[in-house]
Amino acid sequence: MISSELKNKVMTAKEAVERFIKPGTHIAFGGFTILRRPMTIAREIVRQGIKDLFVTMNGGTLVEEMLAGAGLIKWLETTYLGLEGGMPVAYAIRQAIESGEIELIEDYSNWSFAQRTLAGRLGLPFMPCLGDIGSDLIEYDTFKKAGLRGKKENGDFIHPGIPPKKYEIIDDPFEGFGLRPRRFLSGEDSCVNKTNAYREGKINSKKYTGKEGVKVALVPPLMPEVCVVRAQRVALDGTVRIEGLIGPDLDQSLCGRILIVECERICPPEELRAVPEHNQIAAHFVHAIVEQPFGAYPSAVPNYYDYDYSWFKNYVKEVNHQPKEKVKEFWEKHVKETRDDWDYLYNRVGIKKLFSLRTDPKYHYNPNLDRFN
């Protein structure tokens, strides 16, 4: 039987946001572009008008576009700001950065950011990365320029979500032993890449460290206050099963303090524990479970519903090249004025539209969806 302790994790989006998300919260939203975005919590944040958010994500931009459009983002850590549907660069975010409404933005690449989330998930002091080297990602450190990196007089970090350095470049103490392709005892490496400039003697690099060596960038862990992810099923005890592509969601869900999971359906624990190796997140990591069918709309949830491309096209039509007030107005009408996500889904989207996105079990999406007309 279900104990009352377990029931404590289940709550409405309203409760979850009230409890865990405050102005200035460092928050990571899961999913990737049009896949499994946690729109239910994000929309509730817009409804409650929670401002000055410190948003971090790998692979935007639907959620972040909405939050920027509603004027709620103050700081942004990001890798990518594109939006599907005819907007190569997400408009509201671009406007907010250019005008200065988003005050600080720190850039990473997909790999270095992923390594940050991995370090956070594994509880390790840092993770190595062989990218970002030789680029301006290393040279431009926004948080440092803003005086946010380092410690206060009392020894605390200035901001618990901002590491004292953006990168640290070291010389590989193992002298390039692990770089691929390499030579094994039994022969040349079996992998397909052909270049390894340290082997070919092309490299004699003294950059960054001032000494000769194999350059490796170390990245600090990402540790937000709140991580939000959307899964297909979550058990009553918190066990999470994500179906389809995971993207950032394993690492980016487990690196923070609080994990909120929104799902299509809350199910009995026995259902997911029957095949435990198919589950990705153990129960104890989850602090809040929010059930909202169709809540990822307009993004896709494999095996349940497809993304609604017409929403994206319509968004471009309504908002592109418009002044800031018009953009904010769009999000006010579209989301803020709704009471909750059921109100949004019934009255802004419509049941018929939602069910038209239902997926085919073989394809995991809707192969008959006419997206472009």
């Binding site: 990737f32 572009t33 049009i34 896949l35 692979g59 890798t79 990518y80 190569p88 950065i97 250019e98 005008s99 200065g100 409404e101 988003i102 005050e103 933005i105 850039d107 990473y108 690449s109 997909n110 790999w111 992923a114 390594q115 991995l118 062989l130 990218g131 970002d132 080297i133 030789g134 680029s135 301006d136 990602l137 431009y140 926004t142 992998c191 397909v192 890449n193 052909k194 270049t195 400039a197 092309k202 490299i203 960054y208 194999v214 350059k215 592509l245 993207g247 950032p248 969601d249 394993l250 896709a300 494999p302 497809d306 491309y309 997926t359 394809y363 995991h364 999406y365 192969p367 472009f372």
Partner: protein, 291 residues
């Protein structure tokens, strides 16, 4: 390559779409030009749109053993319906494995299974450095001296920098305009080519992979000179004047070595139209160049 395309169906399709079997459109030209740069047996990191179309065309023609990898964590999908994003469930169909970003860049790319990357950018300079971050001062308002952020903010690196740091070869796709091809990019998001002169090359900075680059634009293909690392005009599309290309390049472009590319063949066009993008979702798009 023998294919199961019905000749009569193709003829009907041509009439329906207002196309001719030996005449190509702008996007078709770009797709073919790019596909030809993709070697067989490549492990190609591509994004959706033209790069994916080119990869699928290559798989159907000279590169049947190419594996497509999508940076969100997808390995070797057999795509049936055109995806709009690398995380689109359509791009996952019949994949070998689906996993995470850490996997895509670690287990695949760094581990040695990233031989080719296809990237786009807002700016590309003479050393093949790409800028997809910002124009007009990078700094956001909180730390800038202007009271504002950059003049224009683009998408940011996404996977571009990561892929360019790990791939043996990069194909960079650009619109060939003077302002997009400056002498030096305003922000170095991605070192896709040599990066700079001796002492400032990608290898001097410690990048251990890469060096091979081709910049595919809507007018031509450029490659870095093996000695200087500076882009020169390698192949020009049929009917394009090299002087026009030079005029539309912000940096000084050497046009003395250019050859004319073979136009898209009827077979390439047929495969592109009937197998890769029959609904012309990407092929039907208009040129970005401002006339």
């Amino acid at each position: 390559m023998p294919l199961d395309i019905n000749v009569k169906e193709y003829e009907e399709y041509l009439i329906k779409m207002g196309l001719e079997k030996d005449k190509y459109t702008y996007m078709e030209l770009l797709a073919v030009a790019t596909a030809r740069e993709m070697p067989d047996e490549a492990f190609a990191f591509v994004g959706t749109g033209l790069p994916l179309l080119a990869a699928m065309l290559a798989q159907h023609t000279h590169a049947p053993n190419m594996t497509i990898i999508l940076e969100a964590g997808t390995v070797g999908p057999k795509i049936e319906h055109i995806p709009v994003s690398v995380a689109d469930p359509r791009a996952c169909y019949q994949a070998s494995t689906l996993s995470t970003l850490v996997d895509a860049f670690g287990t695949l790319a760094a581990r040695g299974y990233c031989t080719l990357g296809v990237l786009g950018a807002a700016e590309c300079d003479k050393y093949g450095n790409l800028n997809s971050t910002a124009i007009g001062s990078y700094w956001p308002k909180g730390v800038s001296e202007t009271g504002r952020g950059p003049d224009v903010r683009f998408t940011g690196s996404g996977g571009a920098n990561s892929i360019a740091s790990l791939a043996d070869k990069i194909i960079a796709m650009m619109v060939h305009e003077k302002r997009r091809l400056p002498d030096k990019v305003q922000y170095l998001t991605t070192p896709a080519g040599m990066r700079g002169p001796k002492g400032e090359t990608r290898f001097d900075y410690g990048l251990y992979r890469g060096g091979e680059l081709v910049v595919v634009t809507d007018l031509c293909k450029m490659k870095p000179d093996p000695e200087t690392g500076i882009l020169f005009l390698d192949e020009i599309y049929p009917g394009i004047d090299p002087e026009f290309v030079k005029e539309n390049t912000g940096f000084k472009l050497d046009i003395s070595r250019c050859r004319v590319m073979e136009p898209p063949t009827e077979e390439e066009l047929m495969i592109l139209r009937m197998k890769v993008d029959p609904e012309r979702i990407y092929l039907g798009r208009k040129p970005k160049r401002k006339e």
